[in-house]
């Protein structure tokens, strides 16, 4: 224990050494404090009582305004908000009071509609959504079918699992899916509408040894028809080993990188495929070997635009490519999450201090915001109860008033 005491003391001494207190600290602080008036006890209690009274009146008046303005009342979580509007970016969360219902929230955190299924979805069912929420994919249902839903027009398309010999990702514009077909000797990339076969396929000349290996491990990190670009990533045993920048219109590989085993914990890309973040394996708690830093680079020329501590991992890049959502400690199940945001222009990190476990997150299309779904630490349920925290929105950052279920 004595050895540990010395080591801990030494570690704190190293932390503190760079920022000693100002010589004038005592004088300045005491002087500034002593200039502040002291209130008498009676006045303090009077002020407290008055504050509480005013607070109660304000809350009551606000509640009455909200009750009159819209239903349901704030104290009754969620409910039926009608048909979700078209043309508005939305994201869906489960209604804990009504099994099978999903509430559509806009990026100001306002409920804008409710999608209602007749019965509660099975535990195995997952509700995925296009980036703007205009289409949804219900997967994991009976027979392995994936059902695509347009929540406005209730258009439903079911995809036969036998057709799913491809890897898919929603396109940035939420209208199509990028597909990578691995049935053939050559892997082919294409674009498809939900539930349909891609109209054109183009061979992607991946390393033949990968194609022949039988170990697929390849997925999309970005799909952008607008930029004619897809980012493909290969991960083996949990560590990223390849990244490819691919031209969607002809399958041509524009650039590729290969990484030594255990150097990176993961690779993510911005929705439009213009930025790629490579997170050091140190972000997973690995000491060595690992990439010396976590970086964000441009996909067009490979130039590094941000370099951060290797113990930070990038989870996502914002829709406007201005900030990155990061974890400052390993994001692991059953452990409190430490989440931050990296401003790519200045390189500064804004760190969070929420006491919970990050369950999931969403990226606002074309904008700066993220929606963070926080659950109780250690909650292992398939659809945990979550609090939604919006950051980087036009409205003020903060938790939304209700608890929801992760869809």
């Amino acid at each position: 224990m004595d050895d540990l005491r010395s080591e801990i003391r030494a570690a704190f001494e190293r932390e503190q050494a760079g920022h000693p207190p100002a010589i004038s600290l005592r004088h300045e602080v005491v002087r500034a404090a002593a200039r502040q008036p002291r209130r008498g006890m009676n006045l303090q209690w009077l002020a407290v009582a008055a504050t509480i009274l005013i607070g109660v009146l304000v809350v009551v008046s606000l509640m009455s305004t909200r009750i009159a303005g819209r239903a349901p009342a704030p104290s009754q979580p969620v409910g039926d908000y009608g048909t979700p509007p078209a043309g508005v970016a939305l994201f869906y969360v489960g209604d804990p009071k009504h099994p099978g219902w999903y509430v559509a929230l806009d990026w100001k955190g306002e409920p804008r509609g409710t999608l209602k299924f007749a019965a509660a979805a099975p535990e195995t069912t997952k509700l995925g959504q296009a980036p703007d929420g205009s289409e949804l994919a219900v997967s994991g249902g009976k027979g392995g079918y994936t059902t695509f839903i347009d929540p406005v027009h209730k258009l439903i398309v079911s995809q036969d699992p036998s057709q799913l010999q491809s890897i898919q990702m929603w396109s940035e514009d939420s209208r199509q899916l990028c597909t990578l077909d691995f049935k053939t000797p050559n892997w082919e990339i294409g674009l498809a509408s939900p539930g349909t076969a891609p109209s054109k396929l183009h061979t992607v000349a991946l390393d033949p040894t990968i194609v022949r290996s039988g170990v697929i491990g390849v997925g999309f990190a970005a799909c952008s028809p607008r930029n004619d670009r897809a980012i493909l990533v290969r991960s083996v045993f949990g560590y990223a080993s390849y990244e490819w920048v691919v031209q969607l219109s002809d399958g041509r590989i524009l650039s590729q990188r290969k990484f030594d085993a255990n150097m990176l914990s993961g690779i993510v890309a911005s929705g439009d495929g213009s930025l790629i973040a490579e997170s050091s394996a140190k972000a997973d708690g690995q000491i060595a070997p690992a990439a010396p830093s976590t970086i964000v680079r441009r996909s067009s020329d490979g130039a590094v635009v941000a370099t951060i501590n290797p113990s930070y991992a990038v989870l996502a890049l914002s829709g406007d490519n201005s900030v990155a959502l990061i974890t400052t400690t390993p994001w692991a199940s059953g452990v409190r999450s430490n989440i931050g945001v990296l401003d790519l222009a200045s390189g500064t990190v804004f760190e969070s201090t929420e006491n919970g476990e990050l369950s999931s997150f969403l990226v606002e299309p074309g904008a700066k915001a993220f929606a963070l779904l926080w659950k109780e630490v250690g909650d292992q349920s398939a659809h945990p109860r979550v609090r939604v925290y919006l950051i980087g929105t036009a409205a003020s950052d903060g938790f939304l008033p209700y608890q929801y279920l992760q869809p």
Partner: protein, 166 residues
Amino acid sequence: MQQLVVTTPERASEADFDALIGPHLEAGYRTALAILRDPDEAHDAVQEAAVKAWRRIRQLHDPGSARAWFLAIVANQCRSMRRTRWWSVVRLPAVEPPAEDFVTEAPDLARALARLPREDRLALFLHFYLDLPLDEVGTVLGLSPAGAKTRVYRAARKLRPDLEMS
């Protein structure tokens, strides 16, 4: 040791306040720095805590416990700042040089220490760095001395899972 000059804290003058709280301001700043990891924020926190201490000085019944009493105010101020300014805690990116890739025990422990939950870090900081006895650690953390001992032990055990409690 400096003699305590204040017998009735509610009537403390600036000089009395300086004698009572002044010696603990550096510890307050260092505690705030350990929690917030930002020198400017730490300075703000200790200043706010001092103002609160000045206004609440009548609540300090035992001048001998001024250190733990003041550090508890500092810790609460830091928690409050982090809660209310979730998004404004700015940290410059610290890119480790490649040389640190070599595994040594001390940086490894420092990294593990940095990843501890903040209340655990605070317990270790108070006990092992500021050398506060467990009853004072308990006062700052709002725990009994036994609870403080358990907190310190558990936090240390997160750094060294094989640690035996003594």
